[in-house]
C-alpha cells in the first residue's frame, strides 16, 4: 500500500478533512511542521508518526503525555501495525485511516442525478401516465361509488384532477428550474400521476381497514393517515427531482405532517365551536356489502350492554 489517508472528524461531504501521506510518512501533531495539523489543546506539538515498513504501515507515538489509542486500546512504546479502517484517538480527536484504492460506491443521489441529466423523458410518456391514472381512478370510483350510473360528473371531476396534476407538476418544475437549473417537468408529471393513482388505492384500503372497527374516530384517523401517507410520498418524489436536499424523505414527511396536521387542526377548531348547534352526532357511517360470508357481529345482549356503558358516561365528561 503506497499511501495512507487520514480522515479527521466524522463530518461527511462539504469539508474534506483528509490528509495524504507522502514519501511513506505522515506526521500528526499540533505543530505547523506536521503533515496533518490538529488544533486540539490535548495534543502534543509532535504527537504521532505513521510510516511505511515494507508493505505495511506502522504507528510511532512521539509524545506520551496523553495516551494514544488505536481502536480504543492504549498504544505503548512498540510500533503497532495500522490498517485502513483503524481508528486512532489522540487528545479529543478521532482519526480514521483509509486506503486510496478503497472502492467508493455510487450514491443513490448520484445515480438519480446521472439519470436526470441523461435526457428528457419527453411529454408524451408523462401525459400517457397521467391519462392512465385518471382513467383508472375514474373506473374505480364509478364501480365502487356511483349510484346513478352517470359518467358526466365523474368525467368532469377527472378532467379537474388532470388539470390540478398538470399545475402541480408545473409548479415543481418551476421550483426545479430555480433550484437545480433543470425543470424535469415530464418526470414531475409522471411522479405526480403515479402517486395520484396510488392515492386512489390507499384511500380505498383505508375505508376497508376502518370497516371492522365500526367507529367514527377510527375511520377518521385512518382517513387522515391515508391522506398523510400519499401526500408524503408525493412530496418526497417532487423534492427528490426538484432539489438537492440531503434528506428529502424526512423533509417530505415533515411537510406532509404540517399540511395534514394543519388541516386537521383547522377542522377541529372549526367544529369544536359549533358542536352544540350541530344537531347531528358524529358516528361511523361506513357500510360495506357482504364480502366475507360468515363473519358474525355482536349479539343483541353484547351490543346493548356496551350501549348501556356509553349511556352511563352521559353527563360525566365535566
Amino acid at each position: 500500500m503506497e499511501t495512507l489517508i487520514v480522515q479527521t472528524g466524522m463530518r461527511h461531504g462539504r469539508v474534506a478533512e483528509l490528509a495524504r501521506s507522502s514519501m511513506g510518512v505522515l506526521s500528526i501533531g499540533r505543530g505547523y511542521d506536521n503533515d496533518l495539523v490538529l488544533t486540539d489543546a490535548h495534543i502534543a506539538p509532535r504527537q504521532i508518526r505513521l510510516f511505511r515498513d515494507g508493505d505495511i504501515w506502522r504507528m510511532e507515538v512521539l509524545d506520551n503525555t496523553n495516551p494514544v489509542f488505536l481502536n480504543d486500546t492504549v498504544v505503548d512504546t512498540t510500533l503497532p501495525q495500522v490498517n485502513p479502517g483503524d481508528a486512532i484517538t489522540i487528545g479529543r480527536t478521532r482519526l480514521t485511516l483509509h486506503s486510496p484504492d478503497q472502492p467508493v460506491e455510487k450514491t443513490r443521489k448520484l445515480v438519480l442525478a446521472n439519470w436526470l441529466s441523461g435526457g428528457s423523458v419527453g411529454f408524451l410518456l408523462p401525459l400517457a401516465v397521467l391519462l392512465f391514472a385518471a382513467a383508472v381512478d375514474l373506473v374505480v370510483v364509478y364501480l365502487l361509488q356511483s349510484t346513478d350510473l352517470k359518467w358526466g360528473g365523474l368525467l368532469s371531476a377527472a378532467m379537474l384532477g388532470i388539470a390540478i396534476a398538470l399545475g402541480w407538476a408545473g409548479l415543481w418544475a418551476l421550483g426545479g428550474r430555480i433550484i437545480r437549473h433543470q425543470h424535469h417537468f415530464g418526470l414531475q408529471l409522471i411522479a405526480t400521476a403515479s402517486v395520484l393513482l396510488l392515492a386512489t388505492f390507499i384511500e380505498l384500503s383505508a375505508n376497508l381497514l376502518a370497516w371492522p372497527f365500526h367507529n367514527a374516530q377510527a375511520s377518521e384517523l385512518l382517513e387522515w393517515i391515508a391522506y398523510f401517507a400519499w401526500v408524503a410520498i408525493l412530496l418526497h418524489l417532487n423534492l427528490l427531482i426538484a432539489t438537492n436536499l440531503m434528506r428529502t424523505g424526512i423533509a417530505a414527511v415533515l411537510l406532509s405532517a404540517i399540511i395534514s396536521g394543519g388541516l386537521y387542526a383547522y377542522y377541529w377548531f372549526a367544529e369544536s365551536d359549533v358542536e352544540y348547534n350541530n344537531s347531528v352526532p358524529s358516528y361511523s357511517s361506513t357500510l360495506l356489502p357482504p364480502l366475507l360470508p360468515g363473519s358474525k357481529g355482536a349479539s343483541a345482549e353484547e351490543y346493548f350492554a356496551r350501549l348501556q356503558k356509553e349511556a352511563g358516561k352521559l353527563g360525566k365528561e365535566n
Binding site: L143, L144, Q145, S146, T147, D148, L149, H214, N215, A216, E275, Y276, N277, S279, V280, P281, S282, Y283, S284, S285, T286, L287, L288, P289, P290, S295, K296, G297, A298, S299, A300, Y303, F304, R306, L307, Q308, E310, A311, K313, L314, G315, E317
Partner: protein, 435 residues
C-alpha cells in the same frame, strides 16, 4: 158578484203584498237578528268578564322591562289565576333573572307568585294573593262540533280583545288531545280563557296551527291542576315536579308503544311493526323512477306532539321509519354506497346549549340478530335538568344481500333510559325478512 169579485181581486193582491212584505221583513229581521244577538253575546261576555282577565308579564329584573307577555284569568275566590306554562317558563327556569306581574284593566300592577305547573298540558297557576269577588266558573258540560266559543286575551300587547269562533272537537292523531278552535289566536293571547255562551271556561288558549286553526287546552286538565294545587302543601320545587310529570308522561306513552311492537305488516320483502300508537301520524312513499337505478319503499310514523319545556327544549318527538330498497342495475359496492347516504341519524329539533344537554355518545357496531346481520349506530344525549331524560337515535342497515337492503331508524326525545333501551332493542328485533 162582479163587485165582490173585484173587491176580492183588489183585496187579493193587496193581501198578498202585505203577506209578502211581512215575510220579507221577517227574513230581513231574522238575518239581522242572528249576527246582532251573536255580537251582543260577545259584547256581553266581554263586559261581564274583562275584569277577570289579566295580561301576565315576565319582567326582566336587570332592565326592569317586560321580557314576554301572555294572558291569565281568575279561577277562584282566593285569587288563583290560570295561564299557560309557556307564558311563565322563563321565570321558572331563571327565577333570579325574572319576576312575574299581572296588569289589571285599570292598568294597576300586581306581583305574582307561581303556585302550580303542568308542563305536559302547558298549564300554570299563579296568584297575586288577594281575594276577589268575581271569578270564572269551569264548565263541565260537553260541547258539540259547531258550538260558538269565545276566546279572550291580549294579542301582541295591543290591549284586551275577544274573538269568536267554533268548537271543532278534539284533535285527532295526538297524545294530548287539545280542542280544535276554528278561530284565530295570536301571540300574547296564550293563557287566556275560552268561554262557552254561558261564560264558563271550556279551555285555555295555547297555540295556533294555521289560518283559523287554533288550539285550546281542555278545561278538565285545569280542574285537575287546581285540585292538586289546593291539596299540595309544599309546591316550591317546580323543577322536580316538571321532571316527574315528563317522566310519568313518557312512561304512559312508551308502555303502549313497546306493547304494540309485536304486530307486523309487510313493506317490500320486510315484516315491520304496525303503527305503534294511535296518536302517531304515518306517511309512505316509494321511489322507482327510471334514472334512479334502484327501487325503494319508505314508511315513517311520527308523533305530531311537542311539549314546550323551555325556549330551546321541546320534548315528545318520536319517529321511526322503515325503508326497503332493491336494485337490479347497481353492483354491490354502488348499492351499499347508496345505502350509506341513507344511513343517517335524524337531525334533532333540540338546539339547547351545553348547560342544558350533554354531548352525544354513540355506539356503532355490527349486530347479528335472528333476522341477519346489521350495522347499527345508536347515539344519545341527556337533558341535564330533566331527571336524566334522554334524546336517542338509532339507525340500522341490513348487510346480508348484495342487491336488497333494509334501513330502520328510530328517534325519540324525552324518553327515560330504561324505556329507551326497551324501545331500541324491541325495534331492532321486530324487523324481519319475509319467509
Amino acid at each position: 158578484m162582479i163587485t165582490h169579485s173585484t173587491v176580492q181581486l183588489i183585496h187579493g193582491p193587496r193581501r198578498l203584498t202585505v203577506w209578502f212584505a211581512l215575510v220579507l221583513a221577517g227574513i230581513t229581521l231574522a238575518t239581522m237578528t242572528y249576527p246582532t244577538t251573536a255580537a251582543n253575546r260577545a259584547t256581553e261576555l266581554f263586559g261581564d268578564n274583562s275584569t277577570m282577565v289579566r295580561q301576565i308579564r315576565v319582567i326582566d329584573l336587570a332592565s326592569g322591562d317586560k321580557f314576554s307577555t301572555g294572558s291569565g284569568f281568575i279561577i277562584s275566590p282566593e285569587g288563583l289565576m290560570a295561564t299557560n306554562y309557556h307564558v311563565v317558563s322563563s321565570y321558572i327556569h331563571e327565577p333570579e333573572k325574572f319576576r312575574l306581574e299581572a296588569i289589571l284593566q285599570d292598568d294597576s300592577v300586581e306581583t305574582l307568585d307561581l303556585i302550580a305547573v303542568d308542563v305536559v298540558h302547558d298549564l300554570a297557576i299563579v296568584t297575586a294573593g288577594t281575594a276577589v269577588d268575581t271569578y270564572f266558573a269551569l264548565s263541565q258540560k260537553p260541547l258539540s262540533k259547531g258550538d260558538r266559543i269565545y276566546s279572550m286575551g291580549n294579542p301582541l300587547d295591543l290591549g284586551q280583545t275577544i274573538i269568536e269562533g267554533t268548537y271543532n272537537g278534539l284533535v285527532e292523531n295526538s297524545r294530548y288531545r287539545k280542542i280544535l278552535f276554528s278561530g284565530s289566536l295570536n301571540p300574547g293571547m296564550s293563557g287566556g280563557p275560552a268561554l262557552n255562551t254561558n261564560g264558563e271556561v271550556i279551555g285555555i288558549n295555547v297555540s295556533k296551527g294555521g289560518e283559523q286553526i287554533s288550539f285550546l287546552v281542555p278545561v278538565a286538565h285545569l280542574a285537575t291542576l287546581l285540585k292538586d294545587a289546593r291539596a299540595a302543601t309544599d309546591s316550591t320545587d317546580f323543577s322536580t315536579r316538571i321532571a316527574a310529570d315528563l317522566m310519568a308522561d313518557q312512561q304512559r306513552f312508551y308502555d303502549d308503544v313497546i306493547a304494540n311492537m309485536n304486530s307486523e305488516r309487510a313493506l317490500g320483502e320486510l315484516q315491520v311493526p304496525k303503527k305503534l300508537h294511535p296518536s302517531l301520524n304515518c306517511w309512505g312513499h316509494s321511489v322507482d323512477e327510471e334514472d334512479i337505478r334502484y327501487e325503494a319503499t319508505h314508511q315513517h310514523c311520527q308523533s305530531e306532539d311537542a311539549i314546550f319545556v323551555s325556549r330551546e327544549i321541546y320534548l315528545g318527538s318520536f319517529r321511526y321509519s322503515f325503508e326497503f330498497a332493491e336494485t337490479e342495475e347497481l353492483n354491490r359496492f354502488q348499492f351499499y354506497k347508496l345505502l350509506e347516504s341513507r344511513f343517517m341519524h335524524r337531525p334533532s329539533y333540540v338546539h339547547a346549549d351545553e348547560d342544558e344537554i350533554t354531548p352525544y355518545r354513540c355506539h356503532d357496531d355490527k349486530l347479528s340478530l335472528a333476522s341477519g346481520n346489521w350495522k347499527v349506530s345508536t347515539c344519545m344525549r341527556s337533558f341535564r335538568e330533566l331527571g336524566g331524560l334522554l334524546e336517542v337515535s338509532m339507525v340500522m342497515a341490513s348487510l346480508d344481500y348484495p342487491d336488497k337492503a333494509a334501513v330502520v331508524k328510530v328517534s325519540s326525545s324525552g324518553i327515560s333510559r330504561e324505556n329507551a333501551f326497551l324501545l331500541l332493542r324491541s325495534m331492532a328485533e321486530a324487523v324481519a325478512w319475509k319467509r
